[in-house]
């Protein structure tokens, strides 16, 4: 009874929301309408890009109209969840990477049909963010984003390429300028834990083997990665880096951050002479990955059309502009990125070797509640990296009921 009322309330609220938000998309009297949910436009220009792509799609598919519903990013997951619960989900929509495996497990999104696109269409890292815990794909990437090494050109003339060089450069900077930290070492919070797998991959490791049900972040590559961060701390004291915007204020020579920071720094700190390089690595270049995927919901009656639309967003001709509108980089290997310049080169190089997060529904919670505290306990010196990660891996195994 109470669920029926909840359902009706949610449905009514969503219908009201749909009429309010979807003003642009007139339903075609005949033919089919495809509803697609996405985040609200980041900029007016981004809105124009999406509008053009929508029109192009309608032109190439006569009789089809695409209705795009834009929802503020902060409310998106809750609204989408309620819509799925009330069986009023759209045909297709954007879905945050770590949610794909959750929705896949629920059966609320469709598996990607076999042979939908030729091999090599998408970057592997980006495509793998669409894996379910069963090792099948449940969505297509739209854009991707990753972190790289920002360096202050005055303090670091040429960026370090390896871990050893990174430690050396950080030490040199701090020795020459005791008030300046070598690098802003990430912290043991959810954000630091998100960046960590990219560093682990740089030593040839992975966080977990999901199909094999094995936790791998107590293995040497992860321990070495955490040891690297711990080793950097003496030349990068937190007393300096905990200050507001240390890299921007010239108090830290290097930091790990994403493309979103480039325009902000250029605008707010025009005097800062900086550039971006790929992350230093131990055995092989590697990085982490974030960004948006798109999925087709199980309740749709237009599955074929929905997949067509998702392919359209990710094709070689459109994906450059679509990804840029979403604030990321193209996921199609043949798409042309919009941005140019050394920073974009660095991020692109990074994304070619990006590793997706383990595709398991509980990953966000493990990231926040287990890995983040482990990183922090190693960085604060309360445990060695090996102890911290061994303990964290044991907790994760207990949580998941895995033995490996």
């Amino acid at each position: 009874m109470s669920r029926t009322i909840a359902g009706v309330t949610v449905t009514a609220a969503l219908l009201a929301g749909l009429t309010a938000c979807g003003g642009g998309g007139m339903d075609a009297a005949e033919g089919r309408t495809l509803t697609y949910w996405t985040y609200q436009d980041r900029t007016p220009q981004a809105g124009q890009v999406i509008e053009k792509i929508r029109k192009d799609f309608e032109k190439t598919n006569p009789g089809v109209s695409v209705k795009i519903v834009k929802i503020p990013k902060d409310d998106y997951n809750t609204k989408l969840g309620s819509a799925v619960a009330a069986k009023t989900a759209p045909d297709a929509g954007v879905l945050d990477q770590p949610l794909v495996s959750k929705y896949a497990l629920d059966g609320t999104i469709k598996e990607v049909p076999a042979g939908l696109f030729p091999d090599g269409t998408y970057f592997k890292g980006a495509l793998d963010t669409n894996l379910g815990s069963d090792g099948k794909y449940y969505g297509l990437p739209v854009d991707q984003i990753g972190v790289a090494l920002f360096y202050n050109k005055k303090l670091v003339p040429s960026p370090p390429r390896t871990w050893d060089e990174l430690k050396q450069v950080a030490a040199q900077v701090h020795q020459a300028h005791p008030d300046v930290a070598g690098m802003v070492v990430p912290k043991g919070d959810g954000y630091g834990a998100w960046m960590f797998p990219g560093v682990v991959a740089g030593a040839g490791g992975e966080m977990a083997d999901v199909p094999g049900k094995k936790i791998l972040f107590d293995q040497p590559p992860a321990v070495e990665a955490l040891q690297l961060w711990a080793d950097l701390l003496p030349s990068s004291p937190r007393k300096i880096t905990d200050s507001d915007k240390p890299f921007e204020n010239g108090l830290a020579a290097m930091q790990i951050s994403g493309p979103w920071d480039v325009p902000t720094i250029r605008e707010q700190f025009p005097d800062l002479d900086f550039s971006v390089a790929p992350l230093p690595y131990k055995t092989a270049p590697a990085g982490n990955i974030g960004g948006e995927n798109s999925v087709v919901f199980s309740t749709t009656k237009n599955a074929d059309l929905a997949w067509k639309w998702l392919l359209f967003l990710g094709n070689a001709a459109n994906n450059g502009a679509v990804a840029d509108a979403a604030g990321g980089f193209p996921v199609n290997t043949r798409a042309t990125p919009v941005g140019t310049g050394p920073e974009n080169e660095a991020f692109l190089a990074q994304l070619k070797v990006a590793h997706a997060r383990p595709a398991m529904p509980q990953w966000i919670q493990i990231n926040d509640e287990i890995i983040a505290p482990a990183i922090e306990s190693a960085l604060s010196g309360k445990a060695t990296p090996r102890q911290a990660l061994t303990d964290a891996a044991a907790k994760t195994r207990a949580l998941l009921g895995w033995n490996g």
Binding site: T78, A85, R238
Partner: protein, 321 residues
């Protein structure tokens, strides 16, 4: 309300004679009455009672907001309290919140009382002072968070600059686990405007005759405060302590704002030192998709609040001396 004794006294003026009202008129009155309170009743039923009851129902289920809820009985409650594999930081969040409450509530009361005494003492411009001291309450939480992040900045923060004037070394407030809770409690004490206004009203309610009598009897300002003002303010203090504890146990916005922002995710600060109860609940509800467990957490908090409040009623003196 007339005292019953009056009604029994035949000599009491009977007042203008009124015909007894007919039953249907009374019924109409009832109807009008219900119509008048209908908006309030509807609001209560739809937005308070119904959500609270459904939250109670969902606390006995495994529910991710997306798929149908699955009845699990008391499992959520048992896991919360006893399963530290599933909820490794639950008790930590309880400890953080109790610690915060123990520091924030007394600090707020003392600050509010001192401010009220000062405002009460000034002859001119007390309105201006009242306004200034009340401003932190009406400032948007997001702005408060941003401002205090700067104030607590380890290098450039005003807090450290002031401490250093007194020869106390600057601290890395929001990044040292031991200092996080005191730092948060200090911000809440800074926002004590409402308590200050209530204390001020309490102070105005103390008859000047009593104060004057004490002065004539030779009591100095401190003695007057200790022996007259404080005991007379006891009901006010009790009220503020009870409501303050209830609010402190539910602290959320401030922590959320201070520990979120560019490049920081809201996992409660260094070593979860700022992971308050409601922040923990929020993470389970909206980040980890465990709405059933989050609902159970809210009812555990309700029980905790009821117990603490009952203890206060039992053991704290509430009448004015």
């Amino acid at each position: 309300m007339a005292a019953p004794a009056l009604a029994d006294t035949p000599t009491a003026a009977p007042g203008p004679r009124r015909r007894p009202r007919r039953p249907d008129a009374r019924r109409r009155d009832h109807l009008v009455g219900w119509l008048l309170v209908a908006p309030a009743v509807a609001y209560f039923l739809v937005f308070l009672l119904y959500p609270a009851l459904s939250a109670l129902y969902y606390s006995f289920t495994d529910w991710d907001l997306r798929t149908p809820a699955r009845w699990v009985g008391l499992a959520n409650y048992a896991d919360l309290l006893f399963d530290d594999v599933k909820y490794p930081h639950f008790w930590k969040s309880v400890r953080v919140t109790l610690q915060y409450t123990l520091i924030a509530v007394p600090l707020t009361l003392v600050t509010a009382l001192v401010q009220a005494l000062l405002v009460n003492a000034v002859r001119r411009g007390s309105n201006a002072f009242r306004l200034l001291l009340f401003l932190p309450v009406v400032t948007a939480e997001a702005a408060v968070g941003a401002i205090w992040r700067w104030l607590y900045d380890p290098r450039y923060g005003l807090v450290n600059s002031v401490l250093e004037l007194f020869g106390i070394p600057g601290q890395n407030w929001l990044n040292t686990p031991e200092l996080v809770v005191p730092a948060l409690a200090f911000v809440s004490a800074w926002q004590c405007g409402i308590s200050m206004i209530i204390y001020l009203a309490g102070l105005k309610g103390i008859p000047t005759a009593i104060i004057e009598a004490a002065t004539i009897d030779g009591a100095g300002p401190l003695q007057r405060l200790r022996r007259v003002v404080m005991p007379m303010l006891r009901p006010t203090t009790f009220y503020l302590a009870v409501t303050g504890v209830i609010a402190a146990l539910q602290v959320f916005g401030l922590v959320y704002v201070i520990f979120s922002g560019a490049g920081r995710s809201v996992t409660g600060g260094p070593e979860q030192a700022g992971l308050t109860y409601v922040l923990h609940l929020y993470l389970f509800a909206f980040r980890y998709d465990a709405m059933g467990a989050a609902c159970a957490m809210s009812f555990v908090l309700l029980v905790l609040i009821v117990i603490v409040t009952a203890l206060q009623f039992r053991f704290v003196r509430q009448e004015a001396a």
